[in-house]
């Protein structure tokens, strides 16, 4: 077990960068801010498993919620509409500012 950097309730930002090769973080959440809902466990890293490596050490995986209106410009649905994405810890950093 590695120490987990985030806990449920933490505001996080998905790292905005491009990473070549196989990644499990969809493009549309990169650079977006969300909230850690839960820690899903620790798993071997698919980004290196994809190239035949053992994918170790295991990485914490979080369920992160995003407000739909933060993801899609002009989102027509209600403000409480939420999207959940499973994101590995190395894609997350603390959110830059607290949102009310």
């Amino acid at each position: 077990m590695t120490a987990q950097r985030f806990k449920p309730g933490d505001r996080v930002r998905v790292r905005p960068e491009e990473k070549p090769g196989h990644v499990r973080t969809p493009g549309y959440v990169r650079g977006k801010e969300g909230r850690v809902e839960s820690v899903l466990g620790e798993f071997r890293n698919p980004e290196s498993l994809a190239y035949g490596d053992p994918g170790l050490p295991e990485r914490p995986l979080y369920k992160v919620s995003f407000r739909q209106e933060d993801l899609w410009e002009g989102y027509p649905g209600p403000a409480y509409d939420t999207l959940y994405v499973d994101i590995y810890e190395h894609w997350l950093e603390p959110a830059r500012e607290e949102t009310p």
């Binding site: 491009e18 090769g21 196989h22 969809p26 493009g27 549309y28 698919p46 498993l49 994809a50 190239y51 035949g52 994918g55 993801l71 899609w72």
Partner: protein, 101 residues
Amino acid sequence: MTGVHDLGGSPGGPIDKSQHEVEDWERLADAVTIVLDKKGLKTTDEHRRAQESLPPEQYEALSYYERWVAATELLLVEKGILTREEIDARAEELAESWGEG
């Protein structure tokens, strides 16, 4: 720029919701892929990476299981389990006995 597979949020157009019968070769494609996993010869992650590495125009033109087959072939060759020539020769044999269909 994300990969050709990373479609979330891109304009999708109408969705084709029609169903089709699963064909025998599709069942085989699925079975072979899973057996290679069970035997420890490849992982799902490698298979996904191989699919994503297909040229974008090929990725978009192929059906779901055609992509699986193409990715499985890439991995078998990459890992030295089969050569491209062996696969092509076998495919030709099968085409002769089964017809091009």
